[in-house]
C-alpha cells in the first residue's frame, strides 16, 4: 500500500518522468492507432518501429553524439522511408501489402542491427544506451525526452483536430473521399508522418517489438465499444493512458521489471475484457443475442404447433399434452419443455390438468406466426412464381424475422388474402380487423 501511495503522489522525480512519459506516448499512439486500424494498416506500425533503428544508428554515426533530437530526426527519415517502400512495393509488384510489410521490416531491422554492431565494435564511448531502443528505456526517461513526447502529442492532436472531418472520410471510405475531391494523397501522407512520429517516440517506452501493441491494442479495444470515430479516439486514448499508468506502476513496485512489456500485458487485458463484455459487439453480448433469438424461434414454433393442433381439432380452446405436441412437431423433449415453461411464465399458455392451453395473448401470437408463414408462402408463389410445394421451407425461416412494418406491406401487396397456396385459411385476429 505504501508503494501505491508513494507512486500515486508522483513525489519521486524519476517516477514522475516515467509515468508522464509513458502516458504521453500512450495517448499519441492510442489516437494514431485508431486511424491505422480503421485503414487496415495495423501492422504498418510494426514495420516503422523496426525501420527506425537504422535511422537512429546512422544519425549517431554521422553526428557522433547521443542527442535526443538528432537521433529522432534520423528515426523519422528511415521510418518514413519504410512507409514509402511498403507502398511502392505493393503498388508496383504482385506482392501484397502484408508481404511488403514483413520484407521491409526484417531488412531494415537487419540493417539496424548491422549498424549497431558496427558502432559497438568501433568502441565509441557515447554509444552506451543506443541498444536501449530495442527494448525501450522507460526507466531512464529524461526531462528533455518528455518535452519531445509532449511536442509530438501536441502535433498529433492539433492535426487530427483540424483535419477531423477529412481524416474521418479517408479512414472509413477512401473511394468516397477521393470522389469528393479531397486531397487524399496529402491526407495519407499527413497520417503516415504522424504515425512515424508517434512510433519513433513510442519505441522509447516499449521498444521495437512491442510498439505495434501500443498502436493496435487500445484502438482494437475501443472498436468493440463504439462505431463512432470521436468515441473511438477518446476511448482509445483513455485506455492507452490507463495501460501506460498501470504498466509503469507494476514495473515500479518490482525492481528489474521492464516497463514496456507490462504496459503491453495490461493493454492486452483491457482489450480482452472489451472483447468479452462490450455491449452489442462483445462475445458475451453476441452469445446472449443468439440465445435470445433461438429461444424466440423455439417459442414461436411451439405456438404454431398449438395453432395447427387446434385447427385440426376444430377449436383453439382445447388443451394438448406434450405427446400430442411432439407428434405435431418433432423437437427434443428438453427444449420443448423449457419452451413450454417460459411460454406459461409469460402468459401465452395455461398449464391445466388436461395439458397446455393457449391463452388469449398466446392465441394472438400463434395466429400471427401462422399468418406470416402463410402470407409468405402466398407471396413466393404469386410474385416470384415459385411452385407451391417449394415455398414451405423458406417460410419456416422467414416467419420469425418479419417485422410489423413488413407485415403491413405484405398484407397490402397481397390485398389481405384469404388463403395460402395450399388452400389453408390465413388467420386474422380481431385486433387486426380494426
Amino acid at each position: 500500500m505504501d508503494a501505491l501511495t508513494h507512486f500515486l503522489s508522483l513525489s519521486d522525480a524519476n517516477v514522475r518522468y516515467v509515468v508522464i512519459g509513458c502516458v504521453l506516448l500512450g495517448i499519441s499512439s492510442g489516437l494514431m492507432g485508431v486511424y491505422t486500424l480503421l485503414r487496415k494498416r495495423a501492422l504498418l506500425g510494426d514495420a516503422i518501429a523496426h525501420a527506425v533503428l537504422p535511422g537512429i544508428c546512422l544519425a549517431f554515426m554521422l553526428s557522433g553524439v547521443r542527442n535526443t533530437w538528432v537521433l529522432f530526426a534520423g528515426a523519422i527519415i528511415t521510418g518514413s522511408l519504410s512507409v514509402y517502400l511498403v507502398d511502392l512495393i505493393s503498388r508496383r509488384s504482385r506482392l501484397k501489402p502484408d508481404a511488403a510489410i514483413a520484407l521491409v521490416l526484417s531488412v531494415f531491422f537487419g540493417a539496424g542491427v548491422l549498424l549497431l554492431t558496427m558502432i559497438q565494435s568501433s568502441g565509441n564511448a557515447a554509444q552506451s544506451g543506443l541498444d536501449k531502443f530495442l527494448f525501450g528505456k522507460a526507466a531512464a526517461m529524461l526531462p528533455e525526452d518528455l518535452w519531445l513526447f509532449g511536442a509530438v502529442l501536441l502535433g498529433v492532436m492539433v492535426v487530427l483536430f483540424f483535419g477531423y472531418k477529412e481524416f474521418k472520410l479517408l479512414a472509413f471510405d477512401k473511394g468516397y473521399a477521393q470522389s469528393q475531391g479531397l486531397p487524399v494523397k496529402a491526407l495519407e501522407m499527413a497520417l503516415s508522418t504522424l504515425t512515424v512520429l508517434t512510433v519513433a517516440t513510442g519505441i522509447q517506452a516499449v521498444g521495437v517489438v512491442l510498439m505495434s501493441a501500443l498502436l493496435i491494442a487500445p484502438a482494437a479495444a475501443s472498436r468493440y465499444w463504439t462505431h463512432r470515430l470521436s468515441g473511438m479516439l477518446i476511448l482509445s486514448a483513455v485506455m492507452a493512458s490507463i495501460g501506460a499508468y498501470i504498466g509503469a506502476f507494476i514495473s515500479y513496485t518490482k525492481p528489474g521489471m521492464p516497463t514496456g512489456p507490462w504496459i503491453v500485458v495490461v493493454l492486452s487485458v483491457l482489450t480482452g475484457i472489451s472483447m468479452l463484455v462490450a455491449p452489442n459487439q462483445g462475445l458475451l453480448a453476441r452469445y446472449w443475442q443468439r440465445r435470445k433469438h433461438r429461444d424466440k424461434i423455439l417459442q414461436e414454433n411451439i405456438l404454431k404447433a398449438f395453432y395447427h393442433l387446434g385447427e385440426r381439432n376444430g377449436s383453439q380452446a382445447l388443451a394438448f399434452d406434450i405427446k400430442l405436441l411432439k407428434q405435431q412437431r418433432e423437437m427434443p423433449e428438453i427444449r420443448l419443455k423449457s419452451g413450454l415453461r417460459s411460454l406459461v411464465k409469460e402468459g401465452s399458455l395455461l398449464d391445466t390438468q388436461f395439458g397446455y392451453q393457449l391463452t388469449r395473448t398466446g392465441l394472438e401470437a400463434a395466429t400471427r406466426v401462422v399468418r406470416l408463414h402463410r402470407m409468405w408462402e402466398l407471396y413466393l408463389s404469386r410474385h416470384l412464381n415459385i411452385a407451391p410445394d417449394h415455398v414451405h421451407e423458406d417460410a419456416e425461416g422467414i416467419e420469425h424475422l418479419i417485422t410489423p412494418e413488413l407485415e403491413r406491406e405484405l398484407e397490402l401487396l397481397l390485398d389481405r388474402p384469404g388463403s395460402d397456396p395450399h388452400d389453408s385459411q390465413i388467420p386474422y385476429t380481431k385486433k387486426d380487423r380494426n
Partner: protein
C-alpha cells in the same frame, strides 16, 4: 573452416526459410511467420526453466507448441471475436513476446538467456559448439546438424505432402472438395515454421529467420509464376544472401545475421527493379 561453417549455417536457415516462406507468401501469411518467430519466446523460456539447457529437444517442442498456440489464437480472435486479421496478429505476438520478456526478467538469476541474442543471434559462435565423438572425431557444429536434419525433414514433408500443400494453398475450396484436410496442412505448415524458427533462433535470431522467411520467397515470387521454380529460385536467393551477407559483415565488421538480412533485401531490390523495368 569457421567461415565455411558459418555460411553453411546461414544457408541452411535460408533453405528452410525459402521453402516454408514460399508457401506462407502464397497463402498471404508472411506476417504470421513474423508473428510466430516472436511468439515462441515464452515457450523457449518456460521450456528452458524446466530443462536448464538451450539444446534440449523439449525446448524445440515447447517453442513449437507456443508457435502453434499463437496461430490458433490469431484464428480465434479473427473468427470468433471478429477482430480484423492484421490486428489479431499484432495483438497476439506482442502479448506473447511481452510475457516472454517478463519471464526472462523474473528469472534473471536462473536464465542465461540474452535478450539481444534472441533478436539477432550469435552466428559467429556456431563453429565453437561442436559435436565430438568418444573417439575424438569432430563432427562439426551442433547447429549445423540440427538445422540440417530439419532441412531434410522439410524436404521429406514437401515430397510427401506437395499435392496437399500446394492444393490447399492455391484453392482451399477445391482442395476441400477433393477430400483434402485443409486445416491439417495449415497447422502442419505452422508447426514447421515454429520448429524452424526455434531451431534457428539461437544462431541467427528472430530477425534473420523472418528475413529468410520473406525475402527469398518474395524475390522468387516476382520472377516466376510456377510453384516449383519459385521454391528453387527462393532457395538459390537465400543461399546467395547467406554467402554475400557473410562477406559484407566481414568487410564492415558488424553482425553477420544483420548483414545476411540486408542482403536478402538487396537481392529483392534487384529483382524488383528488374521486374519494373521489364514491365514498362
Amino acid at each position: 573452416m569457421d567461415a565455411f561453417w558459418i555460411i553453411l549455417t546461414g544457408a541452411l536457415v535460408a533453405l528452410n526459410g525459402a521453402l516454408l516462406g514460399s508457401f506462407l507468401l502464397l497463402r498471404r501469411m508472411s506476417l504470421v511467420g513474423d508473428a510466430i518467430s516472436h511468439a515462441v519466446l515464452p515457450g523457449i523460456v518456460v521450456a528452458y526453466l524446466f530443462t536448464a539447457s538451450l539444446t534440449s529437444p523439449f525446448l524445440l517442442l515447447g517453442a513449437a507448441l507456443t508457435g502453434l498456440a499463437a496461430t490458433w489464437i490469431i484464428e480465434t480472435l479473427n473468427q470468433k471475436a471478429k477482430l480484423q486479421h492484421d490486428a489479431a496478429i499484432g495483438l497476439t505476438f506482442t502479448l506473447l513476446f511481452a510475457i516472454g520478456v517478463i519471464l526472462v526478467a523474473s528469472y534473471t538469476g536462473q536464465i542465461d538467456l540474452d535478450m539481444d541474442c534472441v533478436l539477432y543471434g550469435e552466428i559467429a559462435y556456431v563453429p565453437l559448439d561442436t559435436i565430438t565423438l568418444a573417439s575424438g572425431l569432430d563432427l562439426g557444429p551442433k547447429q549445423v546438424w540440427t538445422l540440417g536434419s530439419l532441412f531434410i525433414g522439410l524436404l521429406g514433408l514437401l515430397l510427401v505432402g506437395y499435392r496437399g500443400l500446394s492444393l490447399t494453398t492455391f484453392d482451399a475450396g477445391y482442395a476441400a472438395a477433393l477430400g483434402i484436410n485443409t486445416s491439417f496442412w495449415h497447422y502442419a505448415l505452422m508447426a514447421a515454421v515454429s520448429l524452424s524458427t526455434v531451431a534457428a533462433f539461437e544462431s541467427v535470431g528472430a530477425i534473420l529467420v523472418v528475413a529468410f522467411l520473406v525475402g527469398p520467397a518474395a524475390t522468387a515470387f516476382l520472377l516466376t509464376r510456377d510453384l516449383k521454380w519459385m521454391l528453387v529460385i527462393a532457395s538459390l536467393a537465400g543461399i546467395l544472401s547467406a554467402i554475400t551477407g557473410y562477406y559484407l559483415a566481414l568487410w564492415l565488421d558488424g553482425s553477420i545475421s544483420g548483414a545476411m538480412a540486408v542482403m536478402t533485401g538487396v537481392i529483392f531490390a534487384v529483382a524488383f527493379v528488374w521486374q519494373m523495368w521489364r514491365g514498362r
